[in-house]
């Protein structure tokens, strides 16, 4: 069964993303929301780790949270798909269950 993992913490502050990536399985997905969106940015110290994870896992970023924090799509790493809240709802259905890394 596939899992949609949600991460809502900045990787610069908390280890939620790191934990999530440790347990995420190939074919599952990670959705970055709230302060979690900072992990999606280009040119950060997490870019390499994210790029490695992206080979096996689908990454999504919640656009309203990104825009609220002053970033446009051009600042987001290639391969991360943008979704709105309707897209968030679709993802929870597309995957079999949701695991929130709070």
């Amino acid at each position: 069964m596939s899992i949609l993992h949600t991460v809502n913490k900045s990787p610069f502050e908390k280890n939620n993303l790191e934990s999530c990536l440790r347990y995420v399985k190939s074919g599952s997905a990670v959705l970055l929301i709230e302060d979690g969106i900072y992990a999606a940015l280009k040119n950060t110290c997490f870019e390499k780790e994210m790029a490695t994870a992206m080979k096996e896992v689908n990454f999504y970023c919640l656009a309203p949270d990104m825009k609220a924090r002053g970033f446009s799509e051009s600042k987001i790493m290639d391969g991360i798909k943008m979704v709105d809240y309707a897209g968030f709802v679709d993802l929870t259905i597309e995957y079999d269950k949701v695991q929130a890394w709070l």
Binding site: N8, I33, E34, D35, P64, D84, Y85, A86, F88, V89, D90, T92, I93, K97, V98, A100, L102
Partner: protein
């Protein structure tokens, strides 16, 4: 699709209540059913009608009440978490011999069984918190 949503944080300090509200609104707009919203931990603070945010800020509690009225949403406050944090309806006020109650319209206070039952009856549990 049937959803149950768990909200673990109170309004204003964390984005939790805002994210949950936006998610639920989007799910309802798509025609999905939100069987229940269960407020746990500090999330029970979403249910006090005594909040008075500044005029230019969103009113998180009013927003929940309005959504519940519009969509017949079941907003459940966990009784054990609520008692610890001072969220009471009239019945709880009388039972615990307190001098006031503060539950906002559209919310009801009930047990954790409502969370488990909701999970059993739903297709998806989505948890918002910090």
């Amino acid at each position: 699709m049937k959803f149950i949503i768990q909200v673990n944080k109170g309004p204003y300090q964390h984005q939790t209540a805002d994210s949950a509200y936006q998610f639920i609104s989007a799910a309802l707009a798509k025609g999905h059913e939100v069987l229940r919203v269960f407020f746990y931990h500090d999330g029970v603070n979403n249910g006090t009608r005594l909040t008075a945010p500044p005029q230019d800020d969103r009113n998180v509690v009013h927003r929940w009440s309005a959504l519940a009225a519009e969509h017949d949403l079941d907003l459940v406050i966990c009784v054990a978490a609520a008692q610890r944090r001072g969220i009471l309806d009239e019945r709880e006020m009388n039972r615990l011999d307190k001098d006031a109650h503060n539950l906002a319209p559209g919310f009801r206070i009930s047990g954790l069984g409502q969370l488990i039952e909701g999970v059993v009856l739903s297709d998806r549990l989505v948890v918002f918190g910090d």
